[in-house]
């Protein structure tokens, strides 16, 4: 998202949050009026208490007016209570919306075809939403308080002595204007500060992870210099923010102390015009207890939470991303039939980007139904990429991939999942019951089928240890191997007849792996295994060796004779023996 579209989106989100909860905001406004009562009456009642009571020796009247003030304070406090509770009704749903948007966006982006792995930082996202929640509430409270109190105080002043308003209002409004103008620049500085902070964190994490390389290469000075620049950038932003905050302080002084001095300077003139002592004291009360705290709160509230809200909301909105496009047409729902579990690839070429070297080039592969194929090759050669192409998670630039004669495009991911299942190395086990995890791909699996699968794959001990199918799983308490075993049972009971295991047994010990692969070998359908250990390759009917973009397929015996890479991978010795006198 470009910066300007981010800004627009953030503004839309804020405006939308108000519009979609208009009734709650109206209630908020209503209670605010009640909350304003003490601010409105303070000057008036204090003036009356003095003029009609204490100054003329009438204690009773004095106390009565002060009592009325006390009452207004209680009523005002009740109004505050209701206002704050109303605030909760506005802020919490807003947070819910943001969390939903962030989660949906993050999951959609990570599961899109061709998505690069692990691009979203879940912890940071939730922290940012939390910052927005607190800042949103603080800003609402501050703005509401400011409007309520300053309007009430100004009305009070008007009632008390209208002419004073002419002295007080202009500096006050100028102050608000000056501060608002400074706020935009402060937001820019705050953004710069946060960006420098994040760059610094990223650089520091990078150093922490690569300290060995830095020391071994002797690049300490280079690193200190580069990171030092980020450190200095943040220091500059801090100083800038300090200077801009000072502008806010000046605004507060202009808005409150200046009117006070002016009112008092005009004091004698006011007295001549018939103002009483109470009026003078009341006016000063409105200024000191009303306008000044209100303006102070506004400046502090917007300089702190206000800036955080503006800056962080933009990041959150960026994470939510563009609205999701409607999913591919569910052509599949009409396609009830099963396809035969065969795989054909013709002239498939795939590269991750326009300039990257292709991972596979003009690849042709035929996997007939019932086949057991193992794929081997050096790490990084593209075995997982090939698995992605076979399952339709990646779309080749040229060529076709067909499953049982039918193409992969135009099917929804869910429909595809009925024909083929991919179990990657990163075993996904979630916090739920064991049954939910095992039946993930086939929610209506009959109990006897599940039991048979658990026994066949050697997982009975694990199930008993966890405490049965209805026990709650804590993924952290399971070892990597145990998690993989659960996902393997999950794949076994699914109704898909083509199974692709992408190093899915790498954390099992060799004997457990042998049991699992034997079970899958007997399972009706086709099995493709990306082998982690050479023993997996030896168990397959055919083996495919990936060597750069070239591919060789054959049996173990055939490949040992024809493929030096295969020989290397199975640990046989090939040497550049100097046929020498040493023998």
């Amino acid at each position: 998202m470009t910066p300007s579209s981010e800004r627009t989106a953030a503004r839309d989100v804020l405006v939308g949050s108000v519009r979609s909860r208009k009734s709650a905001f109206r209630r908020l406004a209503g209670w605010s009026v009640l909350e304003a009562l003490p601010a409105l009456l303070s000057g008036l009642l204090v003036a009356a208490a003095l003029d009609d009571g204490f100054l003329v020796g009438d204690l009773q009247t004095g106390f009565r007016w002060l009592g009325a003030f006390g009452l207004s304070v209680v009523v005002g406090a009740w109004g505050t209570r209701q206002t704050l509770r109303q605030l909760a009704e506005v802020v919490e749903p807003f947070r819910d919306e943001l969390v939903t948007g962030v989660v949906t966006g993050a999951l959609r982006r990570s599961t899109e075809p061709g998505a690069s792995p692990a691009t979203a930082d879940a912890a940071r996202l939730t922290q940012q939403v939390e910052i927005v929640r607190e800042a949103y509430a603080a800003v609402l409270m501050v703005v509401q308080q400011f409007v309520v109190v300053s309007v009430a105080a100004l009305i009070g002043l008007l009632t008390l002595e209208p002419i004073v308003l002419v002295i007080v209002a202009p500096p006050f409004l100028v102050a608000v204007a000056v501060f608002t103008a400074a706020l935009r620049r402060m937001a820019d500085q705050q953004r710069a500060f946060i960006l420098a902070d994040e760059q610094l964190s990223e650089a520091a994490t990078g150093i922490g992870a690569g300290l060995r390389d830095v020391v071994a290469g002797g690049g300490e000075d280079r690193v200190a210099e580069v990171v030092g620049r980020h450190i200095d950038a943040q220091a500059a932003a801090t100083r800038s923010l300090g200077r801009l905050t000072a502008v806010g302080s000046v605004a507060v002084s202009i808005g409150t102390w200046l009117p006070l001095v002016l009112v008092l300077a005009a004091g004698s003139w006011l007295l001549e015009r018939g103002a009483t002592t109470g009026v003078i004291v009341g006016t000063v009360t409105y200024l000191l207890q009303g306008l000044q705290p209100a303006l102070q709160t506004l400046v502090q509230g917007l300089s702190g939470p206000g800036l955080w809200l503006m800056v962080t909301l933009r990041r959150v909105v960026g994470a939510i991303g563009a609205a999701a496009e409607p999913g591919a047409a569910d052509v599949d729902d009409a396609e009830r039939g099963d396809r035969e579990p065969s795989l054909q690839m013709r002239d498939v070429t795939f590269a991750y980007s326009a300039w990257a070297a292709p991972v596979v080039q003009d690849l042709a592969l035929d996997v007939p139904p019932g086949d057991h194929l193992a794929i081997v090759g050096p790490s990084g050669v593209g075995k997982s990429t090939l698995a992605g192409l076979m399952t339709g998670l990646l779309v080749p630039q040229t060529g076709t991939v067909t499953l049982g004669g039918g193409g992969l495009t135009g099917l929804s991911a869910y429909a595809l999942a009925r024909h083929r299942v991919l179990i990657p190395q990163e075993a996904y086990v979630f916090a739920g019951t064991l049954l939910e995890n095992l039946a993930y791909l086939r929610e209506d699996v009959p109990r006897p089928t599940l039991d048979a699968a658990v026994d066949r794959l050697g997982a009975r001990q694990l199930v008993d240890r966890i405490g049965g199918y209805d026990a709650d799983l804590d993924p952290f308490l399971l070892s990597a191997g145990e998690r993989q075993l659960i996902t393997l049972v999950r794949a076994y009971v699914s109704s898909a007849s083509l199974v692709i295991l992408d190093e899915a047994t790498c954390h099992l010990d060799p004997s457990a792996e042998a049991i699992v692969e034997a079970a899958f070998g007997e399972r009706p359908g086709t099995l493709i295994v990306i082998a982690h250990r050479i023993s997996s390759a030896l168990r397959a009917r055919r083996i495919m060796v990936m060597n750069g973009t070239s591919v060789e397929v054959g049996t173990d015996a055939e490949l040992r004779a024809t493929s030096p890479l295969y020989g290397d991978l199975v640990g046989h010795w090939q040497a550049e023996i100097k046929v020498a006198a040493t023998r």
């Binding site: 204490f54 204690l59 004095g62 003030f69 006390g70 304070v73 209570r81 909760a88 947070r95 939903t100 989660v103 993050a106 999951l107 912890a123 996202l125 939730t126 929640r133 520091a204 300290l211 060995r212 071994a216 290469g217 002797g218 300490e220 280079r222 943040q234 220091a235 801090t238 300090g242 200077r243 806010g248 302080s249 000046v250 507060v252 001095v261 008092l264 004698s268 003078i280 004291v281 790490s379 990084g380 869910y414 595809l416 999942a417 299942v421 991919l422 996904y428 250990r533 050479i534 990936m546 060597n547 750069g548 890479l565 199975v570 640990g571 046989h572 010795w573 090939q574 040497a575 023996i577």
Partner: protein, 586 residues
């Protein structure tokens, strides 16, 4: 040292660090202190002057004089606020930057083993967040102390106007304090529940993102979204509870404060009617109540200082790590002979390297093999002084590594890792990263030797492509790392079995470079594959920290235990076939 003893020592060190950090704020800190006290004094005097001014106006008794005083005080206040804001920014910026620069430089100079004990994320938190929190200690202390002045002054002033006013205030204040304390306890449990639920959602999201391939393949994205968001209603409930609790305390606080003020006003009114105080005094009193009530901010100052201290302790953990001692010696003009002389490394009561003495001749290609845990990586680290032995010495061309100058050491011995971390903006910078800066030509030569030149040229900006814009496979990153090593190491190359994750063509090219262009340097290869060991002049076989054998590969191959190192599947004990590799230049 007992636990309590070291905890005390740690907190003393943290205090010392805080003082240093505060002083590094420069003259700003002193300026802030003076300014804060001045402002506090003015704030405390202001209501009184205001009262006098009002009295003067009401009694028509030369109000001009008091108005001038008022204007003067107000201007001082305004300037003081400006100075405070600018000063806090400047002092914090200076202190934080100093602490960060110092911690960073220190971290880059300590023993690798001790620094690596910190997970990268933790290190980053200490360097970035904790330094920032500790860096504000100067302004925090100044602000905290200065904030006490109006609070105490306001209370005293109330007593001075009329003792009954002071007493009224003092009677109500403890209730306020009690409420604040009670809220802190009340709110913490609610906050904990909220944070826990939030953590559950974050955890589920994190796991789902990690399992994205499974979810994409199963087509269950919307189901997973629902599952991750399932705790949201609970979060909503806890959040609402938090707001309600805060509402309670805010309302109570407000009510008490306002009623306290009304009470003080009532007493003041009484005294006014008795002629004991003036109207101006009454106004001053109401202003002083507001001032005196700011003592509650003293509590937040204490929490700030506690945070400062905790952060300083965490930064102190980094600063207390012992730095590496480099010498000043140089190397003879030519060589590459590595010698380990009775080297012993201990850890946790075990001997990781047990009195190892070995010589790697200059310009030799030597493989280091052994079971996992035998000490291969440790050996590699010792050879280039990434680790210091506990006993014994490692020498390069007769000069102990410990006495070598840092630059000389690092430019003489270079490492090629299986998973290198690349540093620099562009690919060219990543390859030139090191003590010396190779010229452009040398960068390309090194890249060609590492078989990286081809794919780098294919990138949109070639060598000037930014690392962030150039997603590379594991093998490609490895080759850029190798290029970096080739470009810098002048005498010795210590390499992980980097070719293990490359296809045969690339692997062939690199081994050709290792045996060809790089053959004027000593090459130490940590080998996992038989073909790598076979290519070496000699093989060092490590077993449980000792050198079990040091001989060429074909001699060692006769030992079944040696064969078992390479073949994970039990291999038949055939005699090794005598093969002359076809097509590869010697």
């Amino acid at each position: 040292m007992t636990g309590a003893h070291s905890a005390r020592a740690k907190s003393r060190a943290a205090n010392r660090l805080l003082v240093q950090v505060g002083r590094r704020g420069g003259p700003w800190v002193l300026l802030l202190a003076v300014n804060a006290l001045l402002v506090a004094a003015v704030e405390t005097a202001l209501p009184a002057v205001l009262g006098r001014a009002i009295d003067a106006i009401l009694e028509l008794d030369d109000p001009g004089r008091w108005l001038i005083w008022l204007a003067l005080l107000v201007s001082t206040l305004m300037l003081g606020d400006v100075l405070e804001d600018v000063g806090i920014g400047a002092a914090t910026a200076r202190s934080t930057a100093w602490l960060r620069h110092t911690s960073l430089r220190h971290m880059l100079s300590v023993r690798l083993g001790s620094a690596e004990r910190f997970p990268p994320g933790d290190l980053a938190t200490r360097l970035v967040s904790n330094t920032a929190e500790a860096g504000s200690v100067g302004p925090d202390v100044v602000g905290g102390v200065a904030a006490l002045v109006p609070a105490i002054g306001g209370t005293v002033a109330l007593f001075l106007i009329d003792p009954w006013l002071g007493l009224t205030f003092v009677a109500g204040a403890p209730v306020l304090l009690f409420l604040l304390w009670a809220f802190a306890k009340d709110a913490s449990e609610l906050t904990e529940n909220y944070l826990e639920t939030q953590g559950v959602i974050a955890g589920r999201l994190g796991r789902a993102i990690a399992g994205a391939r499974t979810i994409a393949a199963a087509g269950t994205t919307s189901r997973e979204t629902g599952r991750v968001l399932a705790p949201l209603p609970e979060l909503h409930r806890h959040g609402t509870g938090m707001w309600h609790a805060q509402t309670r305390i805010t309302t109570q606080d407000l009510l008490l404060m306002s009623l306290l003020e009304v009470a003080v006003l009532a007493v003041a009114g009484l005294q006014l009617s008795r002629g004991l105080i003036s109207a101006g005094d009454l106004l001053a009193a109401s202003a002083y109540v507001a001032l005196a009530a700011t003592f509650s901010s003293a509590i937040s100052t204490v929490t700030e200082l506690v945070r400062n201290r905790a952060s300083a302790t965490r930064v102190g953990d980094l600063l207390s790590l012992p730095p590496v001692d480099y010498g000043t010696a140089g190397l003879p003009s030519d060589g590459g002979r590595i010698e380990l002389r009775d080297v012993t490394v201990r850890a946790g009561g075990r001997l990781l390297m047990n009195h190892v003495s070995v010589v790697v001749p200059a310009r030799a290609l030597v493989a280091v093999v052994g079971r996992s845990g035998a000490g291969k990586s440790l050996f590699a680290r010792l050879a280039g002084r990434l680790v210091d032995p506990d006993d014994g010495e490692v020498l390069l061309d007769g000069v102990p590594l410990r006495s070598l100058d840092r630059r000389t050491l690092r430019s003489a011995i270079g490492y090629g890792f299986e998973r290198p971390a690349l540093f620099g903006g562009t690919l060219a910078e990543a390859i030139s990263f090191g003590t010396t800066v190779p010229v452009d030509d040398e960068v390309a030569v090194a890249a060609r030797a590492a078989h990286a030149d081809d794919f780098i040229r294919r990138m949109p900006d070639g060598y000037q492509t930014r690392l962030a814009d150039a997603p590379m496979s594991g093998g490609e990153v490895q080759r850029v790392g190798l290029a970096r090593t080739f470009a810098h190491a002048s005498r010795v190359l210590v390499l992980d079995d980097v070719a293990a994750s490359l296809d045969t063509v690339t692997e062939h090219e690199i081994s050709r470079a290792l045996t060809g262009a790089m053959s004027d340097r000593t090459r130490l290869l940590v080998a996992h594959r038989a073909s790598t060991a076979a290519r070496a002049d000699s093989v060092i076989w490590l077993d449980e920290g000792r050198v079990r054998a040091y001989a060429p590969h074909h001699e060692l191959w006769l030992d079944p235990a040696y064969r078992a190192l390479f073949d994970p599947v039990a291999a038949p004990a055939d005699p090794p076939p005598v093969l002359v590799e076809i097509g590869a230049a010697p």
